[in-house]
Subunit: 267 residues, 2 copies
């Protein structure tokens, strides 16, 4: 099987498509708008990953899944967490298919296993074959099996960096609910400054500067994103972080048109 | 990793959980009842597979997916078919998780590829690990990739026989919408006779006797079921076919209690 040509790995943050103050609160209008923007690009070689937002996170947190299997009562929590993620993914798929996109969901928990929280065995034959046939694979943060922990939570951010590296993608587009990467949390710090251009060195410095992730995000917020992006940027993959809640920002980022946000390059 | 002990592979027919005269017509009361029956058994080592009914079949047929990729316009049909199957699976998972069952959906299209319609590469490491941890994997008939055809339709019936053989299951329970296996189609032939006990030899004879599958079922109806069951029965796996639309028939079959239906054994 020939290697598929992958242009972009697109992440849609859970905070964009769900209301993080609610629980199981999908923003269906936003999901539909983003699906339409993706359709409009007529993109080939695009892989999509979305986060868990108010679907995956509250469940994962309630049952302490990220830390692994410790007691029997967590198991039904694992089932619930994966299930609610498939429900959110179903809403995303519904919108994409409705807009005529040849999208195919790939359930991470069905085809990969982590080791101490890091992707270890990813069976990518279906993924690559889908890409070669012109389908658009859609993955998501998920509750997954782990060789050491029993199970854990795999973040969409780990997944985008892993997929972009493995598939030799040209670039990563990260859609979030703020205008890009800031030097501090713009939601709590009124003086935070938007960083428009970052190098790998800047990114590493920022990683040490930024504080702890907000408690409500089991997969690490902006700090988690940056930490995960480092290896991809090291490989020369370009990253654009844009505000996906603003109409046509994802569209323009995918088209390669100028758009407000943060650009991260190796040098 | 040690081999999991699998007692039963349970198939729930699409005609049990959907209205085959409709389209996307789920019988949510039936789904809930069956989920409750499964929960009541407290079964360990159980794998569930469900069919497509009025979700998968009309879409698969409309786009001629079973015969493989022939034209671009089928691709969005492939996306739609897989998507509607995940929707039906989501209803089943919703009911199971609501009843507190540690069920985990495994998307066939995410982890297996067929060759000319037959399962070729099934990455079963997650499946086996779920079973070893005490989870109940739930799979379903699906639109899948095929090395020769591009893509095709995988029936739940092929899946149960394959899984029972591969996992060395003790038995297969097949839940359908009639009282068991008949010597002709009981829905169209008033004189058809219920066959309570069949040997492998009987089964093979019946396979040649039974006519063509009904057109509305892209995966072959009772003839398709029997054809798929032959290799499993050859391996000594016991099969029970029961009417899953009758309350507690699935429960009793799973418990091994006496229940009306058809029993198939090698000799």
């Amino acid at each position: 099987m020939s290697e598929p040509r992958v242009d972009t790995v697109l992440k849609i943050g859970g905070s964009v498509i769900t209301d993080k103050n609610g629980e199981l609160a999908a923003k269906t209008n936003e999901i539909d708008r983003i699906a339409e923007e993706i359709q409009k690009t007529k993109a080939q070689g695009l892989v999509i990953v979305h986060g868990g937002g108010s679907f995956g996170h509250p469940y994962a947190q309630r049952y302490g899944l990220k830390e692994g299997f410790k007691q029997e009562s967590q198991k039904v929590g694992f089932s619930e967490t994966h299930h609610v993620m498939t429900v959110l993914n179903g809403l995303m798929m519904d919108a994409l298919v409705w807009h005529g996109v040849q999208a195919i969901s790939i359930a991470p928990s069905s085809c990969l296993i982590t080791e101490n929280g890091r992707i270890k065995d990813f069976v990518d034959a279906p993924l690559k074959r889908y890409l070669n046939m012109g389908f658009m694979p859609v993955l998501y943060g998920d509750a997954v099996l782990d060789t050491k922990l029993g199970f854990t939570i795999l973040s969409g951010d780990q997944l985008i960096s892993y997929l972009a590296s493995k598939l030799h993608a040209e670039r990563i587009v990260v859609g979030v609910d703020v205008d890009g990467v800031y030097d501090s949390d713009p939601k709590t710090d009124g003086n935070s400054r938007l960083l428009k251009n970052l190098t790998l060195q800047d990114l590493k410095k920022l990683r040490t500067k930024l504080g702890k992730p907000t408690l409500s995000d089991v997969t690490g917020g902006m700090l988690g994103k940056i930490t995960e992006l480092v290896p991809a940027v090291e490989q020369g993959i370009h990253v654009t972080v844009v505000n996906a809640t603003k109409p046509n920002y994802v569209y323009r980022a995918l088209k390669g048109d100028p758009v407000e946000g943060t650009t991260i390059r190796k040098e």
